[in-house]
């Protein structure tokens, strides 16, 4: 099966400033790729390169097997793009605008109406169908932007910061929508919010100063986020000495009388042994959970590593 995106050694210069440096990655159907980076890291430039709004200074990008530069029309047929500012004609009503988008994307005239109706429903826009886009709130405008990107059912959907300016409930809704889209499309979404990647992505890439500094799927991400520490909380005060007999444990830090932090050897999670021991000793366990590095910590760590 052809990959939806194949980017090979892509560079992009603005004058002498290098916005994207040696970027290579691929994306297949069913993947939701989170593209992370601080502001000015090169996220938007990368998205624009992928959509053919900008040409790479060197390297090549294949979208669904077609070169975005030499076969732009074929490549763009399998592409839906939401730029960082949604491209909306404010004088049109929502359904007029979506019909125009459908026509631009080669949807036959007979199917336009059905396509518009289904996308209105999918993005929760049916109620504002006949309103002018200028009168909609920011959240609804963002949804119209997403609707515009998925109306022609493209194989690849590229969303540049889809959740900017939305309230928490709307963000939740968009995550659900993205997950749903990820099942039968390839999705790339860029963001600087790590929680978003956690919530809806199967893969993650971190870009910093135009370079990819991390490329992982979510399983790999879980491993590097593992700190090999457990947090134990009990109802009554606990004596750390109870656990010293377990050999897999490296170190125990007392946080307070009812709470311990347990560091263990990699590849040997002592959770079953600890529970066994504590229950035998008649201790009431309130919580025993792995401590994960937050995405924020990971992110900051990686960026520090790379800027040194």
């Amino acid at each position: 099966m052809t990959k939806l995106i194949e980017a090979e050694h892509v560079f992009r210069y603005y004058g002498t400033y290098c916005a994207v440096y040696d970027l290579s990655f691929s994306l297949a159907k069913g993947q939701v790729l989170g593209f992370l980076g601080v502001n000015g890291a090169g996220k938007t430039t990368t998205m624009q390169l992928l959509c053919g709004l900008l040409a790479p200074s060197s390297g090549q990008i294949l979208i669904n097997g077609y070169n975005i530069l030499s076969q732009p029309i074929l490549a763009k047929q399998s592409l839906g793009y939401l730029p960082d500012t949604p491209p909306l004609y404010r004088d049109l009503t929502v359904s007029e605008f979506l019909r125009y988008c459908a026509q631009l994307h080669d949807i036959p005239a007979k199917q336009c109406h059905a396509a518009v109706r289904s996308v209105l429903e999918r993005c929760g826009l049916s109620a504002v169908n006949h309103k002018l886009i200028a009168q909609l709130s920011k959240g609804f405008q963002q949804r119209v932007g997403i609707a515009q990107a998925i109306i022609h059912n493209p194989a690849l959907i590229i969303l540049d910061e889809p959740s900017v300016g939305l309230d928490p409930i709307q963000i939740q809704e968009i995550h659900t929508l993205i997950k749903e889209l990820g099942q039968d499309h390839g999705v790339i979404l860029s963001t600087h919010r790590l929680s978003e990647v956690h919530a809806s992505c199967t893969d993650v890439q971190i870009i910093h100063d135009g370079k990819l500094i991390l490329q992982h799927n979510s399983a790999q991400l879980a491993t590097i986020m593992n700190t090999e520490k457990l947090c134990l909380r009990t109802r009554l005060a606990i004596d750390p000495a109870l656990l010293t007999t377990i050999t897999d444990i490296n170190d125990i830090t007392v946080i307070n009388a009812q709470q311990l932090e347990i560091k263990y050897h990699s590849n040997a999670n002592p959770t079953p042994k600890i529970t066994e021991q504590l229950i035998a000793a008649g201790v009431d366990i309130l919580e025993l959970s792995p401590i994960k590095k937050s995405m924020e910590e990971l992110f900051i760590e990686l960026i520090k590593e790379n800027s040194q």
Binding site: C51, G52, L53, L54, A55, P72, I73, L74, K76, Q77, L79, Y81, P83, T85, P87, L88, Y89, D91, L92, Y100, C101, Q103, L104, H105, D106, Q148
Partner: protein, 251 residues
């Protein structure tokens, strides 16, 4: 085919803002005034005309001056109409919609150009209606009227092509308007200098818009004049397409 979709959308959007409506209203008012002054003129000279052999007809007195003046007025207004066609979309970031859709630069430029041209056709047909109304009570040389209509349509078509090109080029709509207005004005007055000296430069004379326009106005359809306008329009559209392609690659 895709170009027609863009053209249709462009034409429709023009009428969603007050721009097209007010332009149509104001222009029709001005043209009506010009038309009435020409009629007044005709009424004044009519008694003398009866004594002249091969006297100019009603059409000769009314139509060419009306269309000539309309050409000058549209030269002033066309840059305003075309200034935002590409430039404004780029500024409001809606251009990404067209750029990421499966369209070629040709589709975009030709579509935008046709959209504007449709509106200009509405304006020119509004002008033609006035002399046509004289046919109710007098005789009108229809052939000449059609020629004038054709001449004006080609002329504003040329204006629009320059306007689209400037809008593709300029970073700001007002700049686009200034650019296209100066360029059109220059092409219009180009043969003034040649008129002063007897031995004018033939090339400059040939490039002037107004000469070819006036040639067509006389009712003589010369393929050189038609060719001039068609080539003019085609080359500016081609330049716009190249410009758009270039911006996509470089930016």
């Amino acid at each position: 085919m895709k170009a027609l979709i863009i053209a249709q959308h462009e034409f429709k959007t023009l009428f969603l803002s007050p721009l097209a409506w007010s332009l149509l209203g104001v222009l029709q008012f001005i043209f009506a005034y010009l038309f009435l002054t020409q009629i007044e003129n005709f009424m004044r000279v009519q008694p003398q005309l009866a004594f002249i052999e091969h006297a100019p007809s009603l059409t000769d007195i009314i139509v060419p001056p009306l269309f000539g003046n309309a050409g000058i007025i549209l030269l002033l207004l066309c840059p305003i109409l075309t200034m935002s066609v590409i430039c404004q979309e780029r500024r409001t970031k809606t251009f990404a919609l067209l750029l990421s859709a499966p369209l070629s630069s040709t589709d975009i430029i030709v579509g935008k150009y046709l959209g504007i041209s449709f509106l200009l056709m509405v304006i020119t047909s509004g002008i033609s209606l006035m002399p046509l109304s004289l046919a109710l009570s007098g005789t009108i040389d229809l052939g000449k009227l059609v020629c004038n209509d054709l001449a004006l349509s080609l002329l504003v078509g040329a204006f629009a092509a320059v306007g689209v090109f400037c809008s593709t080029l300029a970073p700001h709509p007002v700049l686009a308007a200034i650019l296209s207005f100066s360029f059109l004005l220059l092409l219009w007055i180009m043969d003034w200098s040649t008129a002063l000296k007897d031995q004018g430069n033939e090339v400059i004379k040939y490039l002037s818009l107004v000469r070819h326009f006036q040639n067509l106005q006389t009712g003589l359809i010369h393929s050189a004049d038609l060719g001039y306008f068609l080539l003019f329009i085609a080359s500016f559209l081609w330049l716009s397409i190249r410009c758009l392609d270039y911006q996509r690659l470089q930016k």
